[in-house]
Symmetry: D2
Subunit: 384 residues, 4 copies
């Protein structure tokens, strides 16, 4: 695994904890952790249970005892590492978003296809039992024809103007702000549950135009005493309208300036036969409405997705005993293990990653052109 | 009052009930109700306590014993009635939206200004105590600089494809569908709480393209045995992005196809110091978040706005004893009575009506042009 | 009507407003309001729309133009007024609880029976559409055999130790504190929905032992500058366990010391086939759970009881447009009007009042004896 | 560790996962798992990561490489194992409730005291960050003087009359039903947050009087094809009233017949200055009300206890990223590790276990005597 901050912790834990809950033919071995700072990576490897460490990620790729490269570094490094890994025949799990640009994403995609390696991208929220169950309901036609999805991903961790310019706020490292970091998750859930995007139009805002330079820049929280100010070149918030290929309407918003919302990844989907609502902060619950419930008894049901009927839930605790954020990673990795055993790339994989990237690019383009942008055109233009 | 269906009932009740709760210098007397169908209007007048009735609204305007004309007819008749009323020196309360087009709205506005009559438009949701209290908090700076408003107005009463083509679904009578009927309310709350709109871009959808012709067409519910189908020419749902003049972002959606939402008029506003959330279906409650609450104790407070600190609440019941939909009309009409006594047009009045109409028109234009439209340009273009 | 404070306002409004929403064969005429203080009663009569006033309630009983006596005075006066009214052949609506003691209640009951007048007691919470709908579900067997009811009625209006000794805190005027004032409501809902009480055991507490003497003593709120302190001789809070005749278990609590709960009249009922939950502060909503819902899709449904299937709701507004506290009185009075037309005493009437009183008495006795008390024994003992 | 079903899984996971999140001086090594069925215990040991297994728990006690005995067996075996372990100088973590009877509990308590071993009892719900934070608020006086606690622990897993007679429904194995299994948790939270119990009076019910004999009897779920019926001799539901030593009132209810409630461990505490509410099914949230919040802005705050101010939360994920049921065990075991390092028995320990047992015994006695029972008398009577 390359990287060991917030996502590194989440992935490491998932690999460790997975065999306790699930019986997979392939089981993860935490061979080696890579990071540039020897002291840091050594301590992290020890703490998180990695058997060895490297200070250059290229060493991981050279090693024969490593089959899977997990990329949890900042977004600007994904392409180089993934391409090198693919060319060395290593399987890949990559953090989202896939890359900074469509061009990078396309090269990554080509590399995994050419080298025939297993690939996944870590859109972990799909793997809450509630989301898996939602998918099942929709596939069974329980919601009917989908008319609407409205999704927000609301946070508030950078509202303080003194919060420093960490890497997640720097375009050359991260690509975009709220858009690529959190709206990308909503887009993945939308593609998973509703379908492909036809066209988009959006807006992006940076409310705090400059911030103190960060002294240390990992993780989500940071303090800075720096008086040196620098321009913020990514979006604090983004919103966009969507026309899905199946005719559904989408309304999306992501913000890091929505006070009182720590991790408000929420949506509602309305179909001709039913509706669902979900909120990651209460991730075990799915609200479900059926239009054909008896008249007078129609209303959203609040379902705690901890029962045997709910995918993945069975592996954990009895009904009503909730699981948390980390279990979305564990569940995702059981899919990865299955893919490794059986020789396919489970969804979400780089196909999903590149489609997500296309949508992000189309939104950014729509902001520039102040009009609607076809997602498909995006691809054509970029792929030339 | 002209008209006696859903809104006619709400207004009639409010006039009757107002003196019980409030001491106004001017008190309403229910002089006369007008409607074309003699049998219908007679029964309605009797039932709702009107002292007389007319079968031609022009008769109301001729009568000397009538000071105020209340217009609760379909939208395509607002302009003619209001202009005639203003020219006869009658004060006016008009249902929303003001008119079908900016041109009509402008003429109505000119008429009330020229004839110096008191005028209001019935954006009643402002008058829930929670909204009045929200306004107070924002004016006192308790939310700081506003960054975001996201509002939905979700209904589901026409999802059945067999639901007939009532007047609310016919462009020449109503102007637009979800946009003018319900998004207009969200726009009014946005203008009230956040400020003026700078530019917008939107989308509108009609999911069910044709419906059976309606046999009877008043109110919200209707059945039709008709096998004659006709095209639906208004929107089932609309969504739009907003840039407010003060820099805030807005994301709005209105739909009549959001199953499980009977009257989901909801929003959240985020500012630098605090946030609020509201839902008309729990209209007595306002959720309030303050960023400067002690660390560890930050979270949305659920406030039941039934206390003496909450505007209008004092007139009703002790704390915790809720009021309902009808009280928003009563409260609005106390303002109207005050305006009549003191000689001014309380907000929301035709100024608000016309600004709302400009925004609706700008959204419709943005749908045509598939790009952003300045609200101010809208006015310039239309006013020539 | 005798009395014109909080309940006087609620009743007066309901009589006035009832004909607007309902078509009753008998319609209320607000003939006369009685109160001892001429200035007060005159102003109240005028404000609330009573045609005349009296300063002695006995005058109401003497008047031929009055058919119904509505008693909204403090509890210690109910018996005398009700008995006099019954003996004069007047029909009666009495505020709850019926009386201070079983002995008084029995005499009132005997009077209405002997004189063959229509009688009701104002347990208004039964008349929210959600409660009427709950009753219907239970009667249809939708919840199966009832196992549990747990109910709380939580308020916090007297938590300030300086809050004065108003009449509601004085035993000789009110009988008991939280028990008779608010637990009595929960008991009525329990009898209505679950059935008769077999035996009870309870506890009562007075947290603030003495309070300043009240200067003015009407309504729920009051201030006192008095430095004269007097003992509080009623309960601030009461709790009791119940065995219902049908075998269900009950757990009840009422308190005026439950901070943050302004009017928390709430309960949950669990049966073999389903459960319901309700909260008066969101009185339009009923949460309903069905054990035979499809596995994986089981969860409480949140139903807004504003639809045509919900009793009384049809008279008001379209689905999703809520009603409030005052409508429970209006609905109750439509039943009273029907009873007056058709010559029967609609439930809840004095039969319910006396059974409720028996239960209150049994709870008080259980507190004294520190053991379980049969409700039926209570009656036998008291009736001798 | 002795036992490997539901609790065995929870404990094993916690030992494994603890070092990932916390840096403890003492770290758990999963030396050996004991169980009578060799095949079962072998498979469980392998699956859950135990280094060895034994088919007789006595072997664990004999082994020198084992310092801590963790008892997760049915309640009737706790005493024998714990006493043997203590006498062998092993430290002990015991599942709750401590024992079947006060007499057993007393002997266990004496054994750990005499042999000076570290002891804890696994009342894990104390260790959700929300509960630890609640404790801190109460200790700081933020709620003032406590007036009320009302707690329910509601489940529905045995409502089907065909659900078999598993060990949790058999008195000689488990002691009591809902009372010892789940009310015991509420009692522990009450003692932790409010204080010691002075006296109690309760009721216990068994709704389904006989059930089919169980074929396999571990865990919470089971099926039986048996047509042999046997009497159920434990309570399906229990409720009790409490007078705390500090004068607070308590109302408690536990049931396995509360349909729609899978694991409804909930309570509300009201004090003179503030109130809190909590629900284990949303265990990350604590609702907090402060009476001295500004008038008009008073309301329950919904706090997600995932921030650095919330005990234990810091070890996991960023704010708004929730944890689950299993983390309560991890947190508890960090306390145990600390106790082992520093030589003390962290709370909750056998002192808490025995006090909890006294209360359970007093409730059972009150059911027999149909009156109030002093908790302290209980001890005196039982200890002779």
């Amino acid at each position: 695994m390359v990287g060991y901050k917030f996502m590194g912790k989440a992935h490491s834990h998932a690999y460790r904890d997975l065999p306790f809950y699930f019986d997979c033919e392939t089981e993860p071995v935490l061979q080696a952790l890579a990071g540039r700072d020897e002291e840091g990576v050594k301590a992290a490897a020890e703490k998180m249970g990695w058997l060895s460490y490297e200070t250059d990620w290229r060493r991981l790729i050279e090693r024969d005892d490593i089959d899977l490269i997990d990329i949890v570094t900042p977004n600007n490094t994904h392409a180089e590492i993934a391409i090198a890994a693919a060319e060395a025949g290593k399987h890949i799990l990559c953090e989202k978003p896939l890359a900074l640009t469509m061009e990078q994403a396309q090269r990554m995609y080509n590399a995994v296809k050419k080298n025939n390696v297993i690939h996944m991208i870590c859109y972990n929220y799909r793997f809450s039992p509630a989301m898996q169950f939602a998918k099942k309901l929709i596939e069974e036609g329980r919601l009917g024809k989908i008319y609407h999805m409205r999704a927000t991903y609301l946070q508030d961790w950078i509202m303080d103007p003194k919060f420093p310019l960490v890497w997640r706020l720097t375009k050359e490292v991260t690509g975009s702000g709220a858009l690529g970091d959190i709206a990308a998750h909503s887009i993945d859930l939308a593609r998973y549950l509703v379908g492909e995007f036809d066209e988009v139009t959006g807006m992006m805002e940076t409310f705090i135009k400059e911030r103190p330079v960060a002294e240390v820049s990992g993780g989500l929280s940071a303090k800075s005493d720096s008086s040196v100010m620098k321009e913020v070149d990514v979006d604090d918030a983004s919103a966009f309208l969507v026309r899905f290929e199946n005719g559904a309407m989408g309304v999306f918003e992501a913000s890091r300036f929505a006070g009182g919302n720590r991790n408000g990844n929420r949506f509602e989907i309305n179909g001709s036969k039913g509706s669902i609502r979900w909120d990651m902060e209460s991730m075990n619950n799915l609200e479900v409405y059926f239009a054909d419930d008896e008249a007078g008894l129609q209303g959203y049901r609040n379902i705690t997705c901890t029962e045997e009927q709910h995918p993945f839930a069975d592996a954990y605790w009895p009904a009503g005993h909730i699981i948390g954020y980390e279990h979305t990673f564990i569940n995702l990795m059981t899919e990865l293990m299955k893919g490794l055993s059986e020789g396919y790339s489970p969804s979400p994989n780089f196909d999903d990653g590149i489609k997500n990237q296309e949508i992000l690019a189309a939104i950014e383009k729509s902001v520039e052109t102040r009009g609607w942008v076809k997602v498909e055109q995006m691809k054509l233009v970029e792929n030339v």
